[in-house]
Symmetry: C2
Subunit: 103 residues, 2 copies
């Protein structure tokens, strides 16, 4: 490891993406509307942040119709779960670091 933040995953830097992933770690899926309410974000925001996570293959998207209406469901992929766990480990290490630097 070269520096103290090298294992912090850039993809989870943003609070909305952090929120999406933590919801998906404890629930096996969420839909667009629920995510929007849980995170207090705008439509465009949810759309772009889920797209970013999808691009990294950290979540998958399932589209269907429920009661004749479109429904979009997000699920964490194995890759996403792994990456998120590693991110949390890195966070924990960073924060608990009795940083071995002596200034």
């Amino acid at each position: 490891m070269k520096n103290i933040i090298s294992n912090i995953n850039k993809a989870f830097d943003h609070r909305i993406r952090l929120g999406i992933m933590s919801v998906l770690m404890v629930n096996d899926h969420v839909d667009f509307k629920t995510l929007k309410e849980l995170l207090g974000a705008t439509d465009g925001n949810i759309a772009s942040h889920t797209k970013a996570l999808e691009k990294q293959h950290y979540i998958t998207v399932e589209k269907s119709f429920i009661d004749r209406k479109p429904n979009t469901r997000y699920i964490a992929s194995d890759k996403g779960r792994k990456a998120f766990k590693e991110h949390l480990d890195a966070l924990e290490k960073l924060l608990n670091a009795k940083n071995d630097l002596n200034i």
Copy 2:
């Protein structure tokens, strides 16, 4: 609390600022060069992220000369320490949330 991320502090969303603050929580000061090495960031990067934290009054800056050379030292303010602790609490709550939503 309106949503699950409302107590996550936007100012600490970025990994470099997260790094700076966690270093400053356990060390009462760091200088520019040390920060740069610890975080593996470029000069401009350190400059702009410290400036962002300074703007929020989360850190203070002390400029002096050491061995005839300019030295910039960063220190977490009380406000910054408080904000960071609250941020960590919010993070912990978010991550441990057996989110009371039942999908």
